[in-house]
């Protein structure tokens, strides 16, 4: 397999001149498709002078509903979530299974991606400082949505004949609705979701990631990679190919081990930059709150800022998309609701901590120098904010962005694959075809501009929120019952704590 990838790479290198101008062609081809899909999914209604996409409203209402329906589990369950991750309740008689910590770490490294670095910059550019406030609110509410979907993911997972497990929205919809005597509807919803995630995986978890990784590399290289997006794309695609098709797991394993440290490294330096901008901190925080309610200078005012904040938050923490429940389904636990508790830490880490830190890096830089980034948006803007204070930081940031992008791509290739196998079975040929298509999109992501990529990624991802959240409404009573029974047994001491 290694030889095959080398051969492929060589082949592409030799056909190199034929690709000149290729980026431009791909760009022209995808832009109209992207805008068509985008305007369909983001069908907008005018609200108080802002254009509110129905799908965003759908997500907000869902998150608010689950927060109330689960009795503010996002606050009440927080402490217990940490106890679970620490292993306080881990059964000492079954070590060696996937631990709560591992499930959380895997899901987090799937969600902590370019969205945390570049996506926040996009939010601030379009939605102003106020978007940050709504981003945090969305993260907070999203914790409840995650709780519901991850509990269901574990409860309705499927054990394959080979002993591995598959789970996620397609499975909970199929089985959950069957339990409620709506088998036909459940099957339809499961199929709809599976199609959505395997196509959506090509956007959020793929093109957007490779695109922004390329942009940051190019920024660091001082524009030396201009027009060479296809080359960077092919290299990235070759590495992804080596992992998911070639089965060279060592690359993925190394990445998974570096990513958490990169995330910590990123946060530490971000906090340093914020502190270096200390004079601007009060004004930056003031802007966030003022912008949230006045929406000054933002198209659509406060509502406009709210929309952007929510949109980018979901894009980053994936609450409501259902993807994390695929990752959490791997945990063997007699209490599915424990995975729900653990998963509510994801939007917290991803959005409330990391995204907020990024927003403050950008916000404080903007206060100090409104034109610090020039025309740059996305990851390039974040990079410029770091560079103002730490001149060498764009380089490690590029490395970090590349790793974040890579680990997110690996996770999403798995999510997409689960959608695929749900639809077409576990056949090897089909899986390989899917993986090849996935790799092709990694390359394409580097060839097109951010605008159309963002449109199409957003559209595909938000599309699967529709069936997922609809399913969650129907199945939420099951989760609530499980949660109440679990809490009662926790209080009575029936569920034992093994560590103090």
């Amino acid at each position: 397999m290694t030889r095959l990838s080398v051969l492929l790479a060589t082949f592409f290198l030799f056909t190199f001149p034929a690709f000149a101008g290729f980026d431009e062609t791909i760009n022209q081809l995808t832009a109209p498709i992207a805008s068509a899909v985008g305007s369909f999914v983001f069908f907008k209604i005018p609200v108080l002078g802002a254009q509110l996409p129905l799908v965003v409203l759908w997500l907000v209402i869902g998150a608010v509903f689950f927060t109330f329906y689960m009795g503010f589990v996002n606050i009440g369950g927080f402490k217990h979530a940490i106890e679970l991750v620490r292993g306080d309740y881990a059964d000492p008689d079954s070590p060696g299974e996937v631990s709560h910590f591992q499930a959380l770490a895997t899901a987090v490294s799937g969600t902590v991606g370019i969205g945390n670095i570049g996506g926040v910059a996009v939010a601030v550019t379009i939605g102003g400082a106020g978007a940050t406030f709504w981003l945090i609110v969305a993260g907070f509410l999203g914790m409840s949505t995650k709780f519901v979907e991850c509990t269901l993911g574990v409860k309705y997972r499927t054990e394959n004949p080979d002993g591995s497990v598959s789970g996620g929205p397609m499975y909970y919809m199929k089985k959950g609705f069957e339990e409620r005597g709506m088998g036909g509807f459940g099957k339809f919803m499961g199929t709809f979701y599976a199609i959505g995630i395997f196509i959506g995986a090509l956007g959020i978890g793929n093109m957007f990631q490779s695109n922004q990784a390329y942009v940051q590399l190019n920024t660091v290289a001082g524009g030396a990679l201009d027009g060479l997006g296809w080359l960077v794309g092919l290299i990235l695609a070759a590495v992804v190919f080596a992992v998911i098709v070639g089965g060279i797991k060592s690359i993925a394993r190394v990445t998974e081990k570096i990513v958490p440290f990169m995330a910590i490294f990123y946060c530490v330096f971000a906090i340093i930059v914020i502190l270096m901008n200390f004079a601007s901190i009060p004004a930056a925080i003031g802007n966030i709150f003022a912008g949230a309610f006045t929406g000054a200078g933002v198209q659509g005012g406060a509502i406009g800022a709210l929309i952007i904040g929510f949109q980018r938050a979901v894009f980053s923490n994936e609450a409501g998309i259902g993807s994390a429940s695929i990752a959490h389904a791997a945990v063997r636990t007699p209490e599915p609701v424990t995975e729900g508790y653990v998963s509510l830490l994801e939007p917290f880490i991803d959005t409330i901590v990391i995204c907020t830190i990024t927003a403050l890096v950008i916000g404080t830089s903007q206060v100090a120098d409104p034109n610090f980034a020039g025309d740059a948006t996305g990851v390039a803007m974040t990079s410029a904010a770091f560079e103002r204070q730490i001149s060498w930081f764009p380089l490690p940031l590029a490395f970090g962005a590349l790793l974040f992008a890579f680990s997110t791509m690996i996770s999403w290739s798995y999510y997409g694959l689960k959608g695929w196998t749900y639809l077409f079975g576990e056949g090897q040929l089909g899986q390989t075809i899917y993986k090849l298509v996935f790799c092709a999109f990694v390359a394409i992501g580097c060839m097109v501009q951010l605008g159309p990529i963002l449109d199409i990624s957003d559209a595909l991802v938000f599309l699967i929120c529709v069936p997922n959240i609809l399913g969650l409404y129907f199945l939420a009573p099951i989760v609530r019952r499980e949660m109440q029974s679990y809490k009662a047994r926790l209080a009575s001491g029936e569920i034992k704590r093994y560590k103090d």
């Binding site: 070590p95 591992q102 990752a327 798995y414």
Partner: protein, 144 residues
């Protein structure tokens, strides 16, 4: 107080030496041997989604391999020699898990083989025997 000794095996030569040493002592003193295989594992490692999905299956395979490949052959040797014994296979961080099992069985002693790894490797990763000596609540015999 039960007269029992925990002996750590892992299929390596060091483990075999520990087993030989422990069985000779057990024959002399009439002790019971707790033959233990700890499969190195940590709940705090970082995995890919695929590794997690396959974890249960891999765990069973690991236990099966340790049991049929190392622990059972050891047990059959002990049975032939008429030494009272019990077997344990468990996942976990090696030194801490050995201590846990030792406490559960109330053993008087732990016998473990030495890997004899180089200085730099020891410096980076430590050694199970070394950790055990530092933290064990019962005497530890390290068989060279």
């Amino acid at each position: 107080m039960s007269n029992s000794v925990l002996v750590a095996v892992d299929g390596s030569e060091g483990g075999d030496r520990a087993l030989r040493y422990a069985s000779e002592r057990a024959k002399l003193g009439g002790a019971k041997l707790i033959v233990t295989y700890v499969i190195e594992w940590s709940p705090y490692s970082f995995n890919t989604p695929e590794e997690n999905a396959e974890r249960h299956m891999r765990r069973e395979q690991e236990i099966e391999r340790a049991t049929s490949g190392v622990v059972e052959p050891a047990a059959s040797i002990l049975a032939k020699e008429g030494i009272d014994h019990e077997t344990v296979v468990r996942h976990g961080p090696p030194a801490a898990t050995l201590i846990e099992i030792a406490e559960q069985h109330g053993v008087q002693q732990i016998v473990i083989g030495r890997r004899g790894q180089s200085g730099i490797k020891n410096l980076l990763f430590g050694s199970v025997a070394g950790n055990l000596v530092q933290t064990s609540p019962v005497p530890v015999v390290v068989v060279p």
